[in-house]
Amino acid sequence: MPGADKEADLTERIEAFLADLKRGGCGTGPIRGSGETARETTALLRKVTAQARWSSAGDLMEIIRKEGRRMTAAQPSETTVGNMVLRVLKIIREEYARSRGSSEETDQQESLHKLLTSGGLSEENFRQHFVHLKANVIEAINELLTELDGTTDNIAMQALEHIHSNEVIMTVGRSRTVEAFLKDAARKRKFHVIVAECAPFCQGHEMATNLSKTGIETTVIADAAIFAVMSRVNKVIIGTQTVLANGGLRAVNGTHTVALAARHHSTPLIVCAPMFKLSPQFPNEEDTFHKFVSPHEVLPFTEGEILSKVNVHCPVVNM
């Protein structure tokens, strides 16, 4: 039966995605392209919309919420997954409202006055069935996907406004967004970049080679030298893994150092983050936001007996 087949196929894809999330790209470095994760999540959600059985928006939202919970449980540190799920839910709500009739659009705006006077929740339980809802939702998700594809370029287009000639810019580790940002500015301006290498994975090295290939003057410094060099830096531009609801960042290990140093020297700090990194979470529990991987990078396993006496941690991400 093709229907059952498709469903099984869908579950299989979801399982594969979950398994992949759990394994978290341990071989390819600590942060596995959040852009790709976002894209895959959205594609998967689109598939769920297309193939799952639902009759009203409410059902669909339930299904998506359930899958979303599973996906976020698989790898809590990958917040982009949760972000995309939330965005898709919002799309569904919007499409639903549009299908109900554009005249009611204004009703959606919940002003404080309305909340007081309407006396309780409106009958928005999304139970109505609309014929074209599926197609609309899928179309909207496609739009979201195209938007995702273009984020890096959109950000890079604004580079010229922020970077001036003969400036010294500092960055940390490797961020594709920042890389594109700087490369775009380099087409018209001449400036100098200092990259902090970000041990133990040393992704700063890769960043520096990429930048220098396009002709930007680059220097790599060790993490310990960040504060020392900061006095000569005009701007700090960094990428991040997540932007939290209170404006805090969850970024590569070492970013905190850079931020503190910049604050001390009153250096402006710019964060380049595409929209799928914006998360509604608050940093309420200190510990759970940190991510540690195998200590192998810090102290290799072959070092033998010393291991039983020493605790080795290898943080990847912190606040």
Partner: protein, 702 residues
């Protein structure tokens, strides 16, 4: 959409996606065929014992799945029903699993060899497969090793039979199992295994020289390898096991292949990885190491909070200092989880406890003032107050009452109760099964012992619980394992792994030397053999003199002695020379003057010259004889002048040729003493005379 309908499920055995890639298969042996975990494994098969609150077989399956294995055959013998149930409920038997698991059970398996023979009989594997045990914990990426293996087989037309995966780790590392310690000699370029030997605590090891004569010039002898017990095998491995019925373990197989190399032409390679973690939980010591490594996140991404088995409610949160807490864990006031602790769900911990380096299972209750250090507790354990546990394992359902102290390396098996106010000495094993039960069950589906496990149990004759041992309210019997000295055990086996008694005399795997016809020095045989041979030759010559035996018969006797003691020709000749030259000393004591010595020696030389001539045929033999002569006279300083006479006589008897003597004289001076020897007047005159004689003979024309 339409393309997805046509897409095959990856789990399909008869996959339609042919190309060159057949689905990767694996053979998982979920039984260890030994009793290292007795009596714990009496109730639960080893593959299902929890490591970090997850059954060990789950780790292995996860490792295989992440490598890309698409079909796994799990072979179970002991308690196969439990393993089957567990697997059917796990995520690997879901229809969406990328790895299809087939469970094959039989009560007749007694060793790894039997399993592989069954694999061959049932014709299960079509291609290269990965062979692992059910208690392997690893995150190594073997795709590189797989590629190398396949490449080798393609290039070399199926000569390479197996690739073993090892991890580089220094000797004495705590994750190295002492029983599995190996020394491997390998060819660096082709990564081929030339010699494989378990060290077993030996201080000296012997390597046969022929392994180093294989034409490559880079060898490594490595002791820094940790055996991960992961092998990539070709289909021939199964066939080879079928052909050789006495292959029981992988070591047998490796040794067999290496020994029979000339006949079969098969080779074994190895793959050494620096990254990644791989270890096998073969005894409780390893259980301790692997558990603590896992909690310290060495096996990332198989970490506790990842919940890779996808079980409901199994997830936990990870905090600083590697503290993992499951759901609904309650912690009393003042309690501290110091570091490297994993606590399962629904566990409650009392006040003022200190827990470090421990793993606690689900639904446990822990009282107040408890100190846990390197304790491994499984599910449903109840611990009362004021208890101290150090480096011990407490299995499901055990109850530990107040004020008990468990010292190191104790094991409390299922449902045991240890009474209040007791301190268990180190290494105690308590179980609800009476040690004597074992005899009755022998004809049941019990496993045969692995040949290295030789302990016999001292039966404590009691049917009632002994309060002195388990406390006033305790329940359980103490299992004592005693060493059996009558077997050839240099190693004391206990539940926690080896306690090595280093035995300098032990020589369990000495290899005899081979005949080497080239100039490399052969490994000297046992000293005893040489001495015995020498004595025998002396005896033969003596008898020859007394009974006037013909020289041919003497030659026959010496030849037979040579075979009996496995001596090389060169050594025969050297020893013969030595014996003859020492003969006068033997007969008449060492206080001879040179004159007397030569007086008695020269006729002897004449008598035995045919014997000499039989052994000295090639130019090299001449030189060897001369070096023996030289050696002897270097020792006998006082008689160096006699050397000239000896040489002269030998030359006259045509035992030695002038070219050889001249060559020896000009080239052989290796140290001061021999140089001095050559300065001897008589010798120089002799040499000069020889040279003249040679000139004359060469002038006469040949």
């Amino acid at each position: 959409m339409s393309s997805r309908g046509g897409k095959q499920k990856k789990g399909n055995v008869t996959s339609e996606q042919e190309e060159e890639e057949q689905p990767l298969q694996a053979v998982l042996v979920a039984d260890s065929f030994n009793r290292r975990f007795f009596p714990i494994s009496k109730d639960q098969p080893r593959a299902l014992l929890p490591l970090g609150n997850v059954a060990m077989i789950d780790y292995t399956l996860e490792f295989l799945t992440s490598t890309g294995v698409q079909e796994t055959f799990v072979f179970c013998c002991w308690m196969s029903n439990k393993i089957k149930d567990h697997l059917l409920k796990s995520k690997w038997c879901r229809p969406t699993s990328p790895n299809v698991v087939h469970i094959i059970t039989s009560d007749l398996y007694r060793s790894l060899g039997d399993v592989l023979r069954d694999v061959d009989a049932k014709n299960l594997v079509r291609n290269d497969f990965i062979l692992v045990y059910g208690d392997v914990v690893s995150n190594i990426d073997v795709s590189q090793a797989l590629q190398e293996h396949r490449h080798r087989r393609k290039v070399d037309k199926n000569i390479s039979v197996m690739t073993m995966v090892f991890k580089e780790s220094s000797p004495g590392h705590k994750s190295r199992c002492e029983e599995d310690d190996v020394i491997v000699a390998m060819d660096s370029k082709s990564k081929r295994v030339l010699h494989y030997q378990k060290t077993q605590g030996l201080k000296k090891l012997q390597f046969p020289m022929n392994i180093f004569q294989h034409g490559s010039d880079e060898f490594e002898v490595r002791h820094d390898l940790l055996d991960c017990h992961i092998s990539i095998c070709s289909p021939q491995v199964a066939e080879l096991f079928t052909d050789n019925f006495d292959y029981q373990t992988r070591s047998d197989f490796v040794r067999g292949i290496l020994v029979n190399e000339e006949i079969l032409g098969n080779q074994i390679h190895l793959y050494v990885t620096q990254d990644g973690y791989g270890a096998r939980v073969s005894n409780l010591q390893m259980y301790d190491s692997v558990s603590s490594d896992m909690v310290r996140r060495w096996v990332y991404p198989l970490t506790p909070e990842a919940n890779f088995t996808d079980q409901q409610g199994q997830g936990c949160t990870h905090s600083r200092h590697n503290v993992y807490r499951g759901a609904e864990v309650s912690l009393g006031q003042g309690s501290q989880m110091e570091e490297n602790v994993l606590i399962g769900r629904d566990t409650s911990i009392g006040a003022n406890c200190r827990i470090s380096n421990s793993v606690i299972g689900n639904n446990c209750t822990i009282g107040d003032n408890v100190v846990l250090d390197r304790a491994y507790m499984w599910n449903n354990v109840h611990i009362s107050s004021n208890v101290e546990i150090h480096q011990s394992v407490v299995c499901d359902g055990a109850v530990v009452k107040e004020a008990v102290r468990l010292n190191k390396q104790c094991v409390l098996a299922y449902n045991v109760v240890i009474g209040p106010n007791l301190s268990l000495p180190e290494g105690t094993v308590v179980s609800m099964h009476h040690p004597e039960e074992e005899e009755e069950d022998d004809d049941d589906e019990f496993l045969s012992d692995d040949q290295e496990v030789g302990h016999s149990k001292d039966k404590t004759r009691q049917k009632a619980f002994n309060p002195a041992e388990v406390g006033p309210e305790g329940k359980g019997y103490i299992w004592k394992a005693s060493m059996d000295d009558t077997e050839d055990e240099e190693l004391a086996q206990c539940l926690w792994g080896l306690v090595l008694n280093p035995d300098p005399e032990s020589d369990s795997e000495s290899e005899a030397s081979e005949e080497s016809q080239d100039h490399s020095r052969s490994v000297s045989p046992e000293i005893d053999d040489v001495n015995a041979f020498q004595l025998e030759v002396l005896g033969t010559l003596q008898r020859g003199l007394e009974e006037n035996i013909v020289c041919d018969n003497l030659v026959l006797e010496i030849n037979s002695l040579k075979y009996a003691y496995n001596i090389t020709l060169k050594e025969v000749m050297q020893i013969l020379t030595r014996v003859v030259l020492e003969y006068p000393f033997q007969q008449q004591g060492t206080q001879l003057t040179t004159l007397q010595y030569t007086g008695s020696l020269l006729p002897l030389l004449k008598t035995w010259s045919p014997v000499f001539k039989n052994y000295i045929k090639r130019p090299q033999d001449h030189l060897d004889c001369l070096s023996a002569v030289e050696e002897l006279f270097l020792e006998q300083d006082t008689h160096q002048t006699a050397m000239v006479k000896v040489l002269m006589k030998m030359y006259q008897l045509e035992i030695l040729e002038e070219e050889a003597i001249l060559k020896w004289f000009s080239t052989g001076a290796t140290n001061d003493k021999s140089r001095q020897l050559r300065k001897n007047q008589g010798l120089q005159k002799f040499i000069k005379w020889l040279e003249e004689a040679e000139d004359e003979s060469s002038e006469e024309g040949e």
